[in-house]
Symmetry: C2
Subunit: 750 residues, 2 copies
């Protein structure tokens, strides 16, 4: 090729590149084309109108009060913290309002506020709170600073063309570029991790990079810092390692490659997945707008689409996320992160009509191209009911680190949903809850997971941060519905040890009408102890609603104490056994969460079954367990050793088996009847189960049975060593020969 | 007048009487004319349609299952109890359905079920449970039997004309007449009281009397039994005297004359008033239909109309009745008794358009002339919002036995409602709660009244009856928000003593915009101790919502221990003082409710104010009290000595002043801010009150002050001896001279 030809080709590429990456504004989230369409169609789209009106009401109200950019001082929940949080939301909304309404007052507001920040930012050192492993300048932690820049990038994009070149230069020089540098090159321990914190950092740097057309920042966002000098044992505030052993990459693509499993499950759990989704989907939308050739929504087999769908399925009947690991209860798919996620994934990820009904419940849409698409589709009546489903979500980047199992049975009033945690530890926010489960009905929690001990953004409670009791109670095994050996938590309560292991999913079958079943093993939580739990939702018209069968086998070479707690809420109604209540209440132990429990009643059964019933949410609940006369049955309550009243004083029922090598816990949980406080009618207030039994327990097989008051009988046989679907099994149980294929055999009497 | 003339006049009256009282059916609740109109207008009236459809769905569903009239056996909550309850509701509805749909299957169903009862009834002795002071035959207590007859009378009226004369004869001879006799002549201790039980009895006897055209029964219903041989000290199951000293009359008119105050307040409280209203309004409708000349709805200055209006005003924002005395929480104006009351009082009591909006919330109407009128009026758009109001309802038949004070301030999100109990004891279901209060906001309870310890119709909990803990906890003074002296309940916890006294309303002023105030005295609860409490709702734009000011003065000749508990719900957030938490929890006492409490934290203040804040229902609450350094500040929780887990383990804050003759408790309660679990924003999470102070306390005057963080100041001066509006007062407080007229003087700084 001649030099001339090369030169012409070179010129051509320059032109092409300039054309392809020529800067129009807005283009980050809202696009120039989107603005035109929104303005044209607004009057026909009520959801878009009301979302716009909400934004106008909020911003206009705050504009009246004037701009306040205080010198950073407070922790989360305090004034300056809340004010700066409000400011970035206001700037983002005002920017969008400027584009849609074309009312210049909004641009003026954004500019003036940005100028205040530009004036202050160069004067700031690290935030004075000095409580974070990676302090911000505006906030106590860089995480919040990254939030600020994600939101503010959109605001800047919206007013970019309206600002003078001189104004833009000042803002970029004094504010945005140093801000992006502080998040990244100045804070490698924050920026170069594979972690939700870094995702925020990457998105923030990339988004401002796009708006400023700064390729260096964009590269830094995509691929992280080239060097970071992070020490191998460096940890964050939550005790999590900064760099996991073997971590090679950093940056946004490293997050996409490593933070999610191939099923779109996020190892920290849905609460953090919700939080992390926002920078993922927002930055992805920006990438789609600026670099469509990346095909970011198709990346890794459409990972972001799967992640949002998985997240929506990890909710109870009210749309509340299952509070696995450190998770605050009450957080739901109504959150703004999910509004963005649903809109963006609908628009860029294949227009799933089920997402529209979620958007309808959310009652608002984003003020951008994706929100426009959703509002339009809803107006055209395209929405379908969102179908939640049973699923076994693989954990780990490669999908080989355990799984989170979800079983759903029954419809409407009869809905029952089981969550079983057979995953990896979940990093620094993980709980010591191997093989634990939680149960939900059509009203919400039945057998709950405690979630985190924290009151986010409530300053009175340790500045809104994680409480001491999060470590001493919420993370501990006894706070969960799984076996505790010798009153010690799984992995001795050590996150580093927990991080090395994951539970082993054994089998999962959600395809049968009468039984949905999930089984998993855990052999690392306690040295020398093998745990194998199988949970099944059984649907049979002879029961009012589906019931839960729980078979938990534990084996050890030496005798141990095994305890299985079932946490519940509401008021105990009755037990079928006698118990003694201590006159004086004391803490039950010194550590692993027992220091927060008090024993309220202790009893033993004479027969073979223990039954407790309770009333909550005007529903009746009963648990019937196969137990031996030596087993101790404890009613306990949370609340000891809680000098700041940080804990909710909730009850639990604990079955304690002492000095045993092998033990099998077999229980049936029923949700039944209802109580109406207005008519004062109690319907189906009593348990239907008359007996729960263990028939066989060998290394190879475990067989259990239960029957109802009409003497209908059900038998479940588990093959403990061979779960393959085609494996043939044969077992004689009490004189009856059973033959079957596969991991389990379920027999219902006619 | 000649004999002939007299004779002709006599004949004329006979004819008139026969014409006036000639029997048409139906005429008891549903009328012949009503049936025609309902059939004509049904298609235009959706509320009537849906109420009809509900009845059809219920009855048709049960008809498929067949008739079951089991031999009585069980207590409340058990099978036979529930079945017979269902039966009478089904018969009543089926009777009405027969009239409206003219489908004979409903008449057949009523007849067949009645015949089963007629077959069984003569074979029955008293109910085998043998637990009531007045056992029924179908149910464990006559009260339920009376319910049965009230409902069944309507069913009988609806099928009367359709039945053969022979069938009627059998039913009246074997079932209705002996049934009415058992309720009355056989059970004078049940029938001849002035009590809600007897009201049911009177109505039942009178209603079946009307249908059977049996003047003897009607007289017995109106005026009671002529003789009864009830002993002076005879008591019912709840420890209430059967006959109050001096009771002369009995029967329905005696109930109207004695059970309500002139304001329509029912001394047992709204929960029982709701229950009692049903026989009152149903029998009144029957009287209006059969004996219009009685003008029953105008009787005693339209007492029944007032009673229903008062009852509707004794509800919180959700329509839940204030749980004064023995009362189950959750009961509301959605109950069937209130559907009847609202419809009947609308139709017969002056067509108050506000009642229509209550009927709309109820979502159903009676299937009778009154329900027709309501459905029609709603369809015509006549409904207006029901306006709840501040009111001071006089207690006692003559209106001179204390009062129940209601203060309401603020609208919508800012709504605050105070209930102060300055009434008489409230008979056997009364609690020892003189001068107690409860506080409600727009979400419900803030400072709650515990209500009753009972799970009505839940068999597992003592057969659904009142629990032991109702006496040992719920009735006791410490279970309420009022002063306890020396850890003993008011009147030594003796109902008979309590029945002799009532509190003295001192003044009440709900006419001012900035302050609504109520004040009362109690000098009999403890010998030698004078108690005087003033409660005010203060509205000031400097506070987010109205606030509560509580001034409680106690005087005694000898030194005593005074304790003032404030019960709350939710999670303690913070205190402004240091406290110690005992390692071991023990019961706080041996009696008067203290045996059910455990001390969780005890502290003292160094400054002059104690402040506690808590979070409930995603709202913040703060209580700031003027206290001295010697005062003990206790955080306690319910739940000790509760072997059957009957009690809700709720917290309370107790201020204890020891060894004092005179004491003044001054507190401000704030409802403030909100917490959003989805956005995780906490707004206005801190108390605005910076100081609460006692300025003056003499026999003549008490002056208190409080100020906010911006040092705005408010002063309230109370004249303790002279509440007359025109009385002139003058007082120097800290160098400032105040002059005013009336019982109180309130000064807001500008």
């Amino acid at each position: 090729m001649s030099k001339l030809k090369t030169y012409i080709l070179f010129l051509f590429f320059i032109v092409l590149a300039n054309w392809a990456y020529s800067q129009t504004h807005p283009n980050l989230i809202l696009t120039k084309k989107g603005v035109v369409e929104i303005r044209e169609q607004l009057s026909q789209l009520p959801m878009l109108q009301s979302s716009l009106q909400q934004a106008i009401d909020l911003v206009d109200g705050e504009m009246l009060k004037g701009i306040d950019v205080p010198v950073p001082k407070d922790m989360a929940g305090g004034y300056t913290h809340n004010r700066h949080k409000k400011n970035y939301v206001l700037m983002q909304k005002a920017g969008v309002l400027f584009q849609i309404t074309q009312d210049e007052k909004y641009a003026v507001y954004v500019r003036d506020m940005l100028m205040e920040y530009a004036k202050m930012y160069p004067t700031l050192g690290l935030h004075p709170a000095n409580r974070s492993y990676a302090p911000g300048k505006i906030f106590w932690q860089n995480l919040n600073d990254a939030n600020w820049l994600v939101y503010t990038s959109e605001a800047y994009d919206c007013v970019y063309d309206w600002l003078s070149a001189k104004e833009r230069k000042k803002l970029e020089k004094d504010l945005f570029r140093p801000f992006a540098d502080h998040l990244s090159v100045d804070s490698p321990q924050f920026y170069n991790r594979v972690h939700n914190h870094s995702t925020w950092g990457n998105a923030a740097v990339g988004m401002i990079g796009f708006v400023m057309n700064d390729q260096e920042l964009i590269d830094r966002a995509f691929y992280g810092l080239k060097s970071d000098n992070i020490k191998a044992d460096q940890k964050d505030n939550d005790g999590g390692l900064i760099k996991m052993p073997g971590q090679g990459q950093a940056g946004f693509f490293a997050q996409l490659d490593n933070l999610f499993s191939p099923d779109g499950y996020y190892t920290e759990g849905p609460y953090y997945q919700r939080y992390a989704m926002y920078p993922f989907v927002m930055f992805a939308e920006a990438i789609e707008n600026y670099r469509p050739e990346v095909k970011i929504f198709e990346y890794r087999d459409s990972l972001l689409v799967k992640a949002v769908q998985t997240l929506l399925n990890l909710t109870d009947v009210n749309g509340l996320f299952f509070p696995i690991n450190d998770a605050l209860k009450g957080m739901s798919y109504l959150s703004r992160e999910l509004v963005s996620s649903v809109d963006i994934v609908y628009h860029f990820g294949g227009q799933d009509a089920g997402l529209l009904s979620v958007a309808e419940q959310q009652g608002q849409v984003m003020l951008d191209d994706s929100g426009l698409a959703v509002a339009k589709a809803i107006q055209e009546g395209k929405q379908k009911a969102y179908q939640k489903k049973s699923a076994n979500y693989k954990d780990g980047a490669a999908g080989n680190e355990g799984a989170l199992g979800i079983l759903r049975a029954g419809k409407g009033e009869n809905e029952l949903c089981l969550v079983m945690k057979n995953t990896s530890q979940g990093m620094g926010h993980g709980h010591f809850d191997k093989l634990s489960f939680s149960l939900y009905d059509d009203k919400g929690e039945v057998i709950p997971d405690y979630g985190a001990a924290r009151y986010v953004n409530i300053e009175q409670k340790f500045g809104g941060g994680y409480l001491h009791e999060n470590t001493t109670w919420a993370k501990q095994t006894v706070a969960h519905n799984t076996v505790v050996v010798n009153e010690i938590s799984h992995f001795g309560g050590k996150t580093d040890t927990g991080n090395k292991f994951h539970s082993e999913p054994y089998f999962f079958d959600a395809d049968q009408e009468n039984i949905q079943i999930i089984s998993a093993k855990e052999n690392n939580a306690y040295p020398g102890v093998k745990m194998h739990r199988t949970l099944a939702l059984i649907s049979d018209t002879r029961f009012e609603k589906p019931i839960l069968l729980d078979v938990f086998c534990v084996n050890s070479d030496t005798a141990q104490q095994y305890e299985l707690p079932y946490h519940f809420t509401g008021q105990l109604l009755s037990t079928n056994y006698e118990y003694q209540c201590p006159e004086v209440l004391t803490k039950m132990g010194e550590s692993y969460g027992y220091q927060h429990l008090r024993l309220e009643a202790e009893g033993q059964v004479k027969g073979g079954n223990a039954k407790v019933s309770w009333l909550a949410n005007n529903r009746f609940y009963s648990l019937t367990s196969y137990v031996s006369p030596e087993d101790k049955l404890l009613l306990v309550r949370l609340g000891a050793n809680d000098p700041n009243f940080n804990l909710r004083q909730e009850p639990a029922f604990i079955i304690r088996k002492n000095q045993q090598k092998d033990a099998v816990f077999v229980s049936v949980v029923e949700v039944h009847g209802k109580y109406d406080r207005v008519t004062e009618f109690a319907d189906n207030a009593f348990s239907s189960i008359s007996k729960v039994d263990l028939l066989v327990n060998t290394d190879e097989y475990t067989a259990v049975a239960f029957q109802d008051k009409k003497e209908n009988k059900w038998v479940l046989i588990l093959a403990n060593q061979e779960a393959c679907k085609d494996s043939k099994h044969q077992l004689n149980v009490n004189g009856t020969d059973y033959m079957w294929s596969g991991a389990y055999h379920f027999i219902q009497s006619k």
